[in-house]
Symmetry: C2
Subunit: 340 residues, 2 copies
DNA sequence: AGCGTCGTGTGTAACGTTACATGTATAACC
DNA sequence: GGTTATACATGTAACGTTACACACGACGCT
């Protein structure tokens, strides 16, 4: 022991109390903006906090009360959509005094559950899950343990947690209508292979929106969905190449994601297929390379920042005690570019 | 109180001890693989842990001992380099029983310091900083508080922490040599505006490597560096456009980053400048869109995964008690593509 | 037999914070 | 003037874990 301040020179609530000449309980109240503290006391304690450079120990905090930290679970880092969502979340949480820590789930169930467990074990105040691979049953298991809001998980009947999504149904409709306006009638779709919980995936909702828009335009008989296996295909993906070579390839195609749409545009260029004259393409996400003039990919913009803001607001109110479930939809827009 | 198990039904070390018929101290020892526990006791406790589905409370753990968690500070999420680095880190840390949580610093000093504080306050066992904007002085202040390894921060004389970097000096040399092999002599560079701590930035080391390689080839008089202001330029960045229009534009250009190189390739295409016949371009990072056939950008590959592995190994040994500083360099390779 | 040593196991005081139950003044009412 | 609110401040028991000091029996050595 080196004396008064403890071995690491770390400033604790005790030191602040001593410096300000008040009790630790009083300091704690000031820190939490709790009821029953006079303005005089508040300023005195605040001065001591500033003088000593005190920072609360989050681990200790988490043992008794709130930690003022939220956890965000992502499926990956290489996605501009996620970057914007996170920015949107911070726009709300940082002014509210919350910090956030992220975990990368790599779209694998064991990693995701492990990370969620970690976040719960750290006594975080709430969790945002972006595109979780977890089943509704698993989520229902976690929901009672911690305030939860999911993005990119369509489950409007869920009761224990909130969801925020782009209106994927409407977004697909925007694309189909724009293509019809361009004179196309033979419009196909490229989607993901069906998963086990496929009713909750964004790609499935986009499929439904596509089919509905086609039907509404009297083109139900033309509608067809090709499914690719890989979420993250290589630049020379054989599935996409095969699709482009197939004899009954449609005249226009709506891709569930920019990743596939951009690859399609590139492989088509290699194969000498003219875009959009021989094949019109539209994607989803309006990611940065879609705007490159060499790519020029029309794409649906989800308004990721707004999704983030909406999500964070819901999480804040849920941490505040709300228990009824809210399921919000954010309206997307279509960014027209050369490829359509 | 609802009775035996506590209000939230959460399983504590106490419950495990009771179930196994031993003391809490014994359970704690088993959890930490500490000395002084018989095989019989170990199996008995482990069985109880599995039966009850016990998970240690990290907040409580962090108050006394290790939390088995490391923090990773990133500057942003929209970068494939970072994604690969993080994967490399996990390759080492996960088998070692460590979890990791990320923070996004947005390349802003106050956010970065805030996040590092948070991670320290959570009693994490170690920190990885990827491309921190912090000054050597600030880092020296943090280093005594927590094991630290930096990526993308060149400070080979630092004593309190380790660094792992791509050999940016050599990477720049690879590009210059490849361009000379293609017959170019008029080779320029596009770099970042100088920051205050510019001796530690990767862009500055790449500049030095570029200048050295030019000098070595007897082209020192041809060498010139243009500096752009924005780290994250818009698709129609006026600075890059102006550079392309300038009368003394070089015949070939090495860009410090793919972000700028790809934009350059696109704006050049808009302006009718033929790549590589009128202008050869090479970037740094070998990011995914660089491989798109429509872009075809030659780029230096940093071997991000290896950097991650190296970093994690250093952090583990530093957590284990090592205190001398290691400064590792990873050898990059150049991926040749059409643009050069 | 007596004395250290070793291998195992237990009891319990921290760790830094919050929540709750108690004070203790001062003001407000009959 | 005595009771009752009201507002503020304090003392202290948790929270779940680890680290430390210690107890206990068995063993090997003089």
């Amino acid at each position: 022991m080196t004396g008064e301040t403890g071995r690491q020179g770390r400033v604790t609530i005790k030191a602040v109390a001593k410096e300000a000449g008040v009790s630790v309980a009083a300091v704690s109240k000031v820190l939490r903006n709790a009821y029953g503290v006079s303005p005089a006391m508040r300023t005195r304690v605040q001065a001591a906090i500033d003088d000593l450079g005190y920072r609360p120990n989050l681990a200790a905090r988490g043992m008794r009360g709130q930690s003022f930290t939220i956890g965000i679970l992502l499926y990956g880092l290489d996605n501009p959509f996620i970057a914007d969502v996170v920015d949107g979340i911070h726009e709300v949480t940082i002014p509210a005094g919350y910090k956030s820590l992220l975990g990368v789930g790599r779209a694998k169930v064991p990693i995701e559950t492990n990370l969620i467990d970690t976040m719960i074990d750290y006594r975080m105040d709430g969790l945002v899950l972006i595109g979780p691979r977890l089943s509704p049953e698993t989520l229902a298991l976690y929901a009672p343990q911690i305030p939860l809001v999911c993005i990119g998980h369509h489950e409007p009947q869920a009761v224990g947690f909130d969801t925020v999504n782009s209106n994927d149904f409407a977004g697909a409709g925007l694309v189909v209508k724009a293509m019809i306006a361009r004179g196309h009638r033979d419009i196909g779709m490229i989607s993901l292979e069906l998963g086990v919980d496929h009713k909750t995936n964004v790609s499935d909702i986009r499929e439904a929106g596509y089919l509905a828009a086609m039907a509404e335009a009297g083109l139900a008989h033309k509608a067809r969905i090709a499914r690719v296996r890989s979420v993250d295909p290589a630049p020379d993906d054989p599935e996409l190449r095969a699709w482009l070579q197939s004899p009954d390839r449609p005249r226009a195609v709506f891709c569930w994601s920019d990743i596939h749409a951009m690859l399609l545009v590139n492989i088509a260029a290699e194969m000498g297929i003219a875009i959009p004259d021989e094949l019109a393409v539209a994607g989803y996400d309006n990611s940065r390379p879609a705007a490159y003039s060499l790519i020029g990919l029309a794409s649906v913009d989800q308004d990721a920042a707004r999704i983030g803001v909406e999500t964070a607001s819901l999480l804040m109110s849920r941490i505040g005690g709300r228990s009824d479930a809210v399921h919000a939809l954010v309206t997307p827009t279509l960014v027209l570019r050369r490829s359509i």
